[in-house]
């Protein structure tokens, strides 16, 4: 799949943090997510949303992120994606 555009990437990271798939970014260190953590978080969101688990921000994943939804997170805040297994 074509590499996601920068704005899609930032939308994706913001969205994943907002709905519990990534730990909220640390405001002081502006903690960057490693590619591996990002991929795991995307895969967890795809599993929860019933999408093919590719681990990348493909079209279907971006479309689902734009779907109207409930504001509450899908995962308890304390459970980052890797512990979801």
């Amino acid at each position: 799949a074509p590499a996601p555009r920068a704005e899609d990437l930032s939308l994706g990271v913001e969205w994943l943090s907002r709905f519990g798939y990534l730990p909220p970014a640390d405001p002081t260190t502006g903690q960057l997510q490693t590619q591996e953590e990002l991929s795991k978080a995307i895969a967890a969101m795809q599993r929860f949303g019933g999408l093919e688990t590719t681990g990348i921000l493909d079209e279907a994943t971006l479309a689902l992120m734009k779907t109207p939804r409930c504001s509450l997170p899908d995962l308890p805040a304390a459970a980052p994606a890797r512990r979801r297994r």
Partner: protein, 442 residues
């Protein structure tokens, strides 16, 4: 491991719409009615009760807000996040529900840009009583908006949502979604709460029948669910064939309007013409709309052309839309459209071969087959056949009421279905969803 879900420790919760949508075509009364029905979806099947209040002390405050509205979930204009609610464990806002006032809130609108307020409210009130998001596409608790969910008066929660909320609060005694919880209690004083079910505690009430070692006065399919009546009690199976409670429910507390001195019924069936439910006892019968008896009953069974003495069994056979009545070795065939008994009745040999000459009751189940009950056994006649299926009779207790060996264990602890699939189960194990409904009735 997600933390254990917090739940309300009270069963009666108040609610109030504090702020309404500003530019919505939905009037205030419509918004309040939709909130009432969205809460009723959950109170119909749990012991929870919701009542609307005017003051600001409501347990569940409902607001329509925009953008940042002083909580951790700012809204983001049309689309995106459309609503949220706070779980019962939240310190500041437990139970409160917020809807984004930038959305175009509607009610069963065909316009895909509109947001169906009833559908979203059912989801949010699921959070308000303790449910979190799930991945199951068919669940009302999955996070993505899926459009309207149909008529609020007939909406039924998906099975896995019902099981999840039963695991939080147990099952509501009154069994049918059409129960009107605000109908007046019967004149008898409210019964004391059931004693805790521990063996060493107070012995179970004398007259409570044991489901694994009893016969049944009447058996009926009502709104797709199976009801087994014995004395002043009944057991209920959901349309999926799951026994809702190991303990029987009290007939008079649910079927409103039966005389309190009535110690049992002879036969029960749901009329195919208007889906009203008919109860027979001796020479009289009652007609129920939902679970409330209609005005002017009881009436004499002669209305059906039946002789004094009443009936043993009654059931509507969808195959020919006739209602069959059985008494001793005779049967009658009644035409629901002409409301008259078919000529040539009573007659001796009913259309089905291989069933007993006298019956306790009969019913048609969701698999289309007709089931005939006598004593602790039952016979099955497959749809389109006129002969009892081979291998019958079988034990009613084991196949329908989750008993292992009815004789060995009168308490009938919760056993696995036998080698044969239980009729309601159609070959699925009770835990096929990974869920078990263990309901506590006390």
């Amino acid at each position: 491991q997600a933390p254990a879900p917090a739940t309300w420790n009270r069963r009666s919760l108040s609610w109030r719409v504090r702020t309404f949508p500003r530019d919505s075509p939905l009037g205030r009364d419509t918004v309040r009615a939709l909130m009432h029905y969205a809460l009723k979806v959950w109170s119909d099947i749990t012991p929870l009760n919701f009542h609307e209040v005017a003051g600001s002390a409501a347990d569940i405050q409902i607001d329509f807000s925009k953008a940042d509205h002083n909580d951790a979930y700012p809204f983001d204009g049309p689309g995106g996040a459309v609503a949220h609610a706070f779980l019962p464990g939240d310190q500041l806002s437990a139970g409160d529900a917020h809807f984004d006032d930038d959305e175009s809130w509607a009610f069963r609108s065909p316009d895909t840009h509109d947001m169906d307020l009833f559908a979203v409210a059912v989801h949010e009130f699921g959070h308000a009583i303790g449910l979190s998001h799930v991945a199951a596409a068919s669940s009302i608790m999955q996070p993505y908006y899926q459009g309207p969910v149909g008529d609020p008066l007939h909406y039924r929660l998906p099975y896995e949502d019902r099981v999840r909320v039963w695991q939080l609060y147990g099952v509501r005694e009154s069994v049918s979604p059409t129960a009107q919880p605000d109908t007046p209690e019967p004149e008898e004083p409210p019964l004391p709460p059931e004693p805790p079910n521990n063996r060493s505690g107070t012995p179970p009430r004398k007259d409570v029948p044991l489901r694994c070692s009893t016969d049944f006065d009447a058996v009926a399919q009502i709104r797709g669910e199976a009801f087994f009546f014995k004395g002043r009690y009944f057991w209920r199976l959901t349309r999926d064939g799951h026994l809702v409670s190991l303990q029987p429910a009290q007939m008079h507390r649910f079927w409103r309007g039966l005389p309190l001195h009535l110690d049992g019924v002879d036969a029960v069936f749901e009329r195919t013409s208007d889906h009203k439910i008919v109860f027979f006892k001796g020479d009289r019968y009652w007609v129920f709309k939902d679970n409330n008896v209609e005005e002017g009953y009881p009436r004499p069974v002669s209305d059906f052309g039946l002789p004094p003495g009443g009936v043993d069994a009654a059931f509507s056979w969808a195959h020919n839309d006739k209602t069959y009545f059985f008494k001793d070795q005779l049967y009658w065939r009644f035409d629901e459209h002409t409301r008259r008994m078919d000529p040539g009745h009573p007659a001796r040999s009913p259309p089905w071969r291989g069933i007993p000459s006298t019956l306790d009751d009969a019913m048609r189940w969701s698999d289309g087959a007709a089931y005939f009950f006598r004593g602790q056994e039952y016979w099955k006649v497959v749809e389109g056949e006129l002969e009892a299926a081979p291998g019958y009779p079988r034990s009613t207790a084991r196949d329908w009421l989750v008993c292992t060996d009815p004789q060995a264990d009168p308490e009938g602890e919760d056993g696995e279905a036998g080698a044969h699939a239980r009729p309601g189960q159609r070959g699925q194990s009770r835990s096929e969803d990974g869920f078990e409904v263990c309901s506590c009735t006390s």
